[in-house]
């Protein structure tokens, strides 16, 4: 099993890396915990699986690309937020 995790913009700087490959993760939340090294997730963090907005509780599958990023330039409606 292989899951690609990406961080963008301010989050990439805070986590200190752009890409992490995980051997396994059940949910987006667990992907964050492993890939960030246990760093608390900043408020308003957005997340995506395979380039579609999703929630922290979403299930991650083998081969998925999970991304974490701050609010986009124009802010975001509630639907985009990870939690």
């Amino acid at each position: 099993m292989s899951i690609s995790v990406k961080f963008f913009a301010r989050l990439r700087e805070q986590v200190g890396k752009a890409d992490v490959t995980l051997e396994s993760a059940n949910t987006v939340q667990s992907a964050w915990e492993q890939a960030s090294g246990g760093m608390p997730m900043p408020d308003n963090t957005l997340c995506a699986i395979n380039m579609e907005y999703t929630q922290l509780s979403a299930t991650v599958r083998d081969g998925d690309e999970v991304a974490f990023f701050p609010p986009v330039t124009g802010g975001c409606s509630g639907a985009c937020h990870a939690r």
């Binding site: 380039m51 330039t73 802010g75």
Partner: protein
């Protein structure tokens, strides 16, 4: 109805003319509405000397296209175009162009605004401003 990311300076007026000449049939459209977003040299009370626009390659293009498709479904449009800069941008350079062609003005105005508002709230772009001293990420909708 293309949605493009550009890493180089573009001329929004030339792009509009070029696209219109290549893809629109003369006489069929009665309204062309466009919006051009340009980089300011000030923000939140500070002088801004430079900006870097980051995006999520793949997801950003996908959302721009999705927004174009939604506009086509919501209104009776002939065509629409989005061009968005990424990378290092200087004050006075265009950042984004949205154009809508339709038979009548109401659809063109409404759809052009929809493209911009949806793009700002859903397409993954992040601005980092260069100030006289240091840099900062921009979180507020401006």
């Amino acid at each position: 109805m293309p949605a493009e990311i550009r890493s180089q300076l573009f001329d929004p007026w030339q792009e509009t003319l070029r696209y219109q000449q290549q893809h629109l049939q003369a006489g069929k459209y009665g309204a062309t509405a466009s919006f051009v977003g340009t980089m300011r040299d000030f923000n939140q009370g500070d002088d801004v000397t430079a900006m870097t626009l980051e995006h999520y390659p793949g997801m950003t293009e996908s959302y721009l296209q999705k927004i174009c498709d939604e506009a086509q479904q919501k209104w009776d449009l002939l065509d629409c175009l989005i061009i968005h800069r990424v990378g290092d941008i200087s004050p006075a350079e265009p950042i984004v162009l949205t154009v809508v062609w339709s038979a009548h003005r109401r659809e063109a105005f409404d759809a052009c605004r929809y493209l911009m508002e949806e793009l700002k709230s859903r397409a993954p772009f992040w601005k980092k401003e260069g100030l006289t001293e240091g840099h900062r990420w921009v979180d507020k909708n401006t």
